[in-house]
Symmetry: C2
Subunit: 161 residues, 2 copies
DNA sequence: ACAACTGCTTGCAAAATGCATACGGAAAGG
DNA sequence: CCTTTCCGTATGCATTTTGCAAGCAGTTGT
């Protein structure tokens, strides 16, 4: 059942886990958009992910230990998807991806604001963001600083500006 | 001919450029292994890339401005592949990928040594590495520090240790 | 002269992706 | 209640991507 590992190189293994067009998109939406349900991820997907692909990726990411699921107490049919610690530690990777994309791809201004903030904030801001994610997803204590609010405010300001 | 862009998000655009199983593997081998020719990339591939996939990726990466080609003065049939500036600026991204893979995947010890060094070296070491790559690939002046040698020495030591 | 090597292509099978539609059950609105 | 909408998927099917083996015309080393 397990597909064979191509090599023990950490870069290769990261690619074998996350190196497709959708896995990191799903994690990005959960992380930055706080989308916790399947429908939320499906309908508010900026890129228009297909329903079967989304279901498949969620299943694989749970299997790989990057996400966890729990029933939604407020709605018997809903499943809540949460980031596990390995996914939370993708913050620096996603920050670098945003930084690179901002420089070398035709990213739009509004969608680049958050990447810019996260790049300028550096490792200190990433750590604050991860602390906040541990609070939102793992039940850790809430930190003082809300990076998500900082990012969202900047994004909304860019939209209206 | 151009495939349509799915969204202007910098993370998505980075994935559309590099988010497949092989593109970053090819860049990694050129960057860390200094493999500059097609056969070198094909035969010394740790992961066993297929010849048609390699040819396709090299073509796409050149098109995307990440690599450039030049004739090899010493061999009329050989093409030299060089990293362009956008690829050199993937160093921080690859460093983060190595760091994540080292923590959360079953990476082998020997192949993780370089990732560990690059992680511990931090942005300062990344900058030195990029300066060295600009010297090797873009004809810039040679820097004092050779990060490639540091990495290779550590790797060879790990092999024999 | 000849074998080995150069970058790359071709044919073809297998797998992944994309899209529309369907699902049984649960919630929401009248 | 009763109907509509919403829930997280599954299914069928076409298209695209990947993977593997073999081949090719020209160049190089022996």
């Amino acid at each position: 059942m397990d597909k064979p590992i191509r090599s023990g190189c950490p870069i290769n293994l990261t690619l074998e886990t996350l190196g497709d067009r959708w896995s990191l998109i799903v994690i990005r939406d959960i992380m930055f958009g706080n989308r916790r349900h399947y429908r939320d991820l499906l309908n508010n997907s900026e890129e228009g992910i297909a329903s079967n692909i989304l279901a498949d990726r969620l299943r694989k990411l749970v299997e790989a230990g990057l996400l966890s699921t729990s029933p939604d107490p407020a709605h018997k049919q809903k499943t809540v998807y949460s980031l596990a610690e390995p996914a939370i530690q993708l913050v620096p990777l996603l920050a670098q991806m945003g930084a690179w994309g901002r420089r070398f791809t035709p990213a739009t201004r509004e969608l680049s604001i958050r990447a810019q903030l996260l790049e300028e904030g550096g490792p200190q801001m990433w750590a604050a963001f991860m602390a906040e994610l541990r609070s939102l997803h793992l039940g850790a204590e809430a930190p003082d600083r809300s990076v998500i609010r900082e990012l969202t405010d900047a994004y909304l300001a860019a939209l209206s500006g």
